[in-house]
Amino acid sequence: MTGSAWQGLAALAVFLGLLLLFAALGRRLPATFRPIPAFEALGRAIERAVEAGQRVHISLGTGSTVGQESAPAFAGLAALSSIARTTSMSDRPVVATTGDAAMAILARDTLRSAYQSVGAAERYEPTAGRLLAPTPFSYVAGLPLVLATEGVAVHMLIGSFGVEAALAADFGERENAFVIAGTDDVQSQALFFATAEYPLIGEEVFATGAYLEVGGLHTASLRTQDVLRWAIIALILGGTLLSTFGVLR
């Protein structure tokens, strides 16, 4: 094994160790997260949608399941699971769309598991998790029809997006839906900032599970991320100072 491989494994071990530690501490050391307006407003928007008999739509993006772009879509699946359970008694259950066929299968499995877990297996519809189209722009071209004809009041975009992100969010705004959008791509985040009512900036997209109270490990992983982020900031600042004073070359 090379030196960088050992470093990578060590970093992963530290990450895993902290994750398990915070998961074990759990309720004994409750976490307090800063309020994110998007998630606070999301809860109210979902309540309004359920009361009005309207639908929540979750877009899992256009990225592939194979590769690093799947990570934000997995965060979207966690949100899908939580929202499906919350809205299981609604007249119009949640719909998830994606531009990747494998992700559509995962969305259907997530929906099925979520409904089963709250004893509402009959609410599951195989068409509620769909492949909208297999390319980014054809996916976006299919979105207006879903938003306009299926009574969507909450348009949640959590997944991997490219430049089509702006149109995906804008179509929701045109339908006067509540639009919350987050992705891992920096440029697409800038597009969401301009087009979505509630954009998720930076790694906020990965905090979705913790804020929607999906499970203890989501909270633990957010705490781990916070600790490691401060550690990285300290390392960068320390390295800069040591380099400035000529200790590191």
Partner: protein, 211 residues
């Protein structure tokens, strides 16, 4: 039985994930080969999933047409187009002249039009942003976007040599120092978030594959 099956899926996912992850760090040939085999399987499965996805796509739109739901006509057009292009592709291959004609004269122009629509949408979104979210971040965002755009565009007026140079240098400083620094910070956070998501799937607490 259901519980046992879900535990089996979790074990399979965990084992496959661990081998792929180990393959990035450990240089043993057996693990490397196993990692590559799993990745090839994943690509193959993703291809097979496309067929399932297409069946799902057709069933969604077929139902809309059958029930004459709002917008059923679009669904009918989609099914018709799918059948025609799929048939052409299957019988004559994806590179035949008609399939290429359809791609070049239907899909390509539509996607290019959407790209053009993107520019208009962003301008409208910029104006909407000013009226909806009047805070410091919005102001900085819009001012920076406008300044970088002006600094990148061809200079319309001749005879402003020094001023033009100052604007271009300032643009480069903003995009290469401030924007790049901010983007790296965001990427570090995204990497931490992606690692946490991957570990949760590996630990089997997050099971998007059912159970």
């Amino acid at each position: 039985m259901r519980v046992r099956l879900s535990a089996l899926w979790a074990a399979v996912a965990l084992a496959a994930g661990l081998f792929v992850l180990l393959g990035y760090f450990v240089q043993f040939k057996a693990i490397q080969d196993l990692r590559l085999t799993f990745l090839h399987w994943a690509v193959l499965l993703a291809g097979a999933a496309l067929i399932v996805g297409l069946v799902n796509l057709v069933s969604v739109h077929w139902r809309k047409v059958g029930l004459l739901e709002e917008g059923w006509i679009y669904s009918a057009v989609l099914i018709l187009a799918l059948v025609i292009t799929l048939g052409l592709g299957l019988f004559f291959g994806p590179d035949n002249a008609v399939a290429l004609f359809i791609f070049s004269n239907f899909q390509l122009p539509v996607e290019t039009s959407l790209m053009a629509l993107l520019a208009v949408s962003l301008v409208v979104a910029g104006f909407r942003l000013v009226s909806r979210r009047r805070d410091l971040y919005t102001l900085i965002f819009l001012a920076t976007a406008l300044f970088v755009m002006v600094g990148t565009a061809p200079w319309p007026l001749p005879g402003l040599g020094t001023f033009e140079v100052v604007v271009r240098d300032l643009r480069a400083w903003i995009s290469q120092v401030w924007a790049a620094g901010g983007a790296r910070g965001i990427l570090l956070g995204v990497a931490l978030g992606a690692t946490a998501t991957g570990l949760r799937v590996l630990l089997g607490t997050e099971r998007p594959y059912g159970g």
